[in-house]
Symmetry: C2
Subunit: 145 residues, 2 copies
């Protein structure tokens, strides 16, 4: 990589303060209108999950301080915890340098994962294997009645 490369990426970089609507206009959504969003427990720093948002889900999340994703499998808004009660209360939202990812600092009530685990990232690489590193806090069948 070179100075020329740096100049080329610099042009796509967001380097000022924006009003919120302008920032949302600047975000890069994929061909389905979605942007990846990482949810992190605000106090412990644990990364809980990654899911997807469209512009409306971002706006709803900010309005209610309650995280709303877009479910790619159901093609519908996914108001996290709406059925299970395991909601994510929004503490803060940040966008990255080139506007193609979101970091949500949340207060996760109970497990984030549909398997009943606190975090979705429970398959750890261990040499030539993966190991499950956490157990469900709740029987997942109790989450979706």
């Amino acid at each position: 990589m070179s100075q020329a490369f740096y100049k080329s990426i610099e042009q796509s970089t967001l380097q000022t303060n924006f009003d919120l609507n302008t920032m949302l206009d600047e975000l890069t959504f994929n061909e389905d209108g979605l942007i990846p969003a990482i949810a992190q427990q605000y106090d412990s720093g644990e990364v809980l999950m990654m899911a997807w948002m469209n512009r409306q889900a971002i706006e709803e999340t900010l309005k209610n301080n309650r995280v709303c994703y877009w479910s790619r499998s159901r093609q519908a808004f996914w108001r996290k915890g709406e059925s299970s009660g395991q909601v994510q209360n929004l503490k803060s939202m940040a966008f990255d340098c080139d506007g193609d990812a979101i970091l949500l600092q949340v207060d996760q009530i109970g497990p984030a994962c549909h398997t009943g685990r606190r975090s979705c990232f429970f398959h750890a690489v261990d040499g030539q294997q993966t190991q499950i590193t956490s157990e469900p806090l709740i029987n997942p069948e109790e989450l979706y009645k």
Copy 2:
């Protein structure tokens, strides 16, 4: 959502230990052969960036314990820090419940962001504005010579 919904998502859930190659076979890559990867500083918990990997990048990262992404803009392997020296030493890698996201615990040397900032997530929502929440640690022009 209902028990029937739960059963449908259960079927796409990875709930056993795997050998590594089998796990890589089970991952969901997008139409470009890519999967999102979150980099988190292993000791502080700070989320540094989100980028993309293909299967070869995952394998190289695990082989070298040095993070290698796939650059969508350059359509090439992106060995993080190869030019700038700001490498990411891999501490651990984990996959999520349905195999469509990766969490990398890394030891980031210097800034992760091409703007010279430690983290790429420096545009925080503050009411109807976004505010830049960190300053560059290094003049970014010094990173890419």
